[in-house]
């Protein structure tokens, strides 16, 4: 089922001074089974928006309509698997009831088969991200919100995880919302691309991957995005990585 975000605005009122608008009139539809990217020159506003999607932050106005009633899982950019639990316990964390068979399927689908009893305190970011993904699957989510998750990873790990996300999306008909500052990443993964401007935080629809359009016109779109971003904010490209 689709998730509707209707007219979300967020203002903060500092102790001294007038209210500051962080996000302004944001509306979008997150379609079931799609990967929606939100490109943002700086991570702060997109993080706030993504946390609002996952109902971890409040809004000043607007609403999120999630008809399935299932949880929207948020994965932060830092590894969020717990280093004191083994992989299996990490995956079932927060669940009261579960089918072990199904959990093992999620572990296997996330590339962690054979590591069920492994404690991940010294593992790579990629490994820990896989655990977080498996845990998200175990919660049968309405959507998985990825907040710049690959930013600290090396290129080969990123590429492995891009493939994994695509695989999981197709296998389980998963819905992802990806907050990123990496244009190439968003072009590679997304079915829909939005741009979150810096000041005020407004969301603009840019591309939809109809009949592989984004992948076909990759370099053209990349240049177009550069131009748009230059207009939004001078030197904003320095904040974005284009691999």
């Amino acid at each position: 089922m689709n998730i509707e975000i209707k007219n979300i605005s967020k203002e903060i009122v500092p102790a001294t001074g007038a209210a500051i608008s962080l996000l302004k009139n944001i509306s979008l539809t997150i379609r079931q089974g799609e990967i929606t990217s939100i490109i943002s020159p700086t991570g702060d506003k997109s993080s706030t928006l993504l946390k609002i999607f996952a109902q971890l932050e409040s809004t000043s106005t607007g609403e999120i309509v999630n008809p399935s009633g299932k949880r929207i899982i948020y994965l932060p950019s830092e590894p969020s698997s717990f280093p004191w639990l083994n992989v299996l316990d990490n995956v079932v964390f927060g669940l009261d009831h579960y089918s072990k068979e199904r959990i093992l399927q999620f572990i296997s689908s996330s590339g962690l088969e054979g590591y069920e009893k492994h404690i991940p305190h010294n593992n790579s970011l990629g490994f820990r991200f896989r655990i977080s993904l498996a845990r998200s699957l175990a919660h049968d989510p309405a959507a998985i919100v990825l907040d710049n998750p690959f930013v600290m990873m090396d290129i080969s790990t990123r590429e492995e995880l891009y493939s994994l996300i695509k695989e999981l999306q197709q296998k389980f008909d998963l819905t992802f919302v990806l907050g990123t500052s990496n244009i190439s990443e968003s072009l590679l993964l997304s079915d829909k691309i939005y741009l979150l401007s810096n000041d005020p935080g407004e969301l603009t629809f840019l591309y939809e991957n109809i009949a592989g359009e984004i992948h076909r016109r990759k370099s053209e779109i990349k240049n177009h995005l550069k131009i748009i971003l230059d207009k939004i904010k001078p030197n904003s490209l320095s904040a974005l990585s284009i691999c």
Binding site: R71, W84, G94, H121
Partner: protein, 250 residues
């Protein structure tokens, strides 16, 4: 402590003991600095019976380790309430900073005036309260070090505040808590010895009081050596627990 450091530490201790034996057994058998090693050995059975060392050791050690265990379990069991308390008091934690400037010695002296007939119960209470103060102070200052992403995950998965504390914050704090126990273990020994010395009502501190009043230097030295060994063994076990159970915290 790494294996190499432990080995070096043992080697250094063995060398110092060897030097002590050589100097004070053969070159300076009569002096006012340290007792002759052979006299020390001969004195062991005498000190054991004369000063009731076994009972005194049991007295001091049971109070210290009971207080440590009690504080660990009480902080865990009361964790959700403590969390709420922390939440409310976090902003005013600096109000408690004055506690850092009150040495336990002052408290002990005050207690000796308030309770002139020193009783074991006061010592137990004193050590328990001291342990709790030191541990809560540590929790206070370390709660902010719990990674924000873990708390976010807990909230996102629908955990209650108290479950977030029990299942996430507490687990994150455990390794540093055990390290803190290793640190306060030494302070607790110091405070217990001081208390017992001032009150002179049982325990190893009391043995020190008596040996000092009798000017029995050999007994004092030997008791000090036993206390050193016990603190070292206690610290070793706390570190062992930390390495075996909370190894992920490294």
């Amino acid at each position: 402590m790494g294996r190499k450091t432990a080995k070096n530490s043992l080697l250094l201790s063995a060398t110092l003991i060897f030097i002590y034996i050589i100097i004070f057994e053969f070159f300076l058998p009569v002096n006012r600095v340290l007792p002759k090693p052979s006299i020390l050995l001969e004195s062991i059975p005498h000190i054991w019976s004369e000063y009731n060392l076994l009972i005194s050791l049991a007295h001091t050690m049971s109070i210290i380790y009971f207080a440590i265990l009690l504080s660990f379990f009480s902080t865990f069991i009361l964790s959700s309430r403590i969390f709420k308390l922390f939440d409310d008091m976090l902003e005013s934690k600096y109000s408690f900073r004055f506690l850092n400037y009150i040495p336990p010695f002052i408290i002990i002296m005050l207690l000796s005036f308030w309770f002139p007939s020193g009783i074991v119960l006061i010592e137990i209470l004193f050590i328990i309260v001291l342990t709790h103060i030191l541990i809560y102070r540590h929790l206070f200052s370390n709660l902010k070090n719990v990674p924000e992403e873990f708390i976010t995950v807990g909230r996102n998965l629908g955990l209650t505040k108290s479950n977030i504390f029990k299942m996430i914050s507490w687990k994150c704090l455990e390794p540093s808590l055990i390290k803190e126990y290793s640190r306060i273990h030494y302070s607790l020994w110091g405070s217990a010895l001081l208390f017992e010395y001032v009150f002179n009502a049982g325990g190893i501190g009391s043995v020190f009081h008596i040996t000092a009043s009798y000017h029995d230097f050999t007994a004092l030295f030997l008791t000090a050596f036993i206390v050193f060994l016990l603190i070292w063994i206690g610290d070793f076990f706390i570190r062992l627990i930390n390495n075996v159970i909370f190894g992920w915290g490294k």
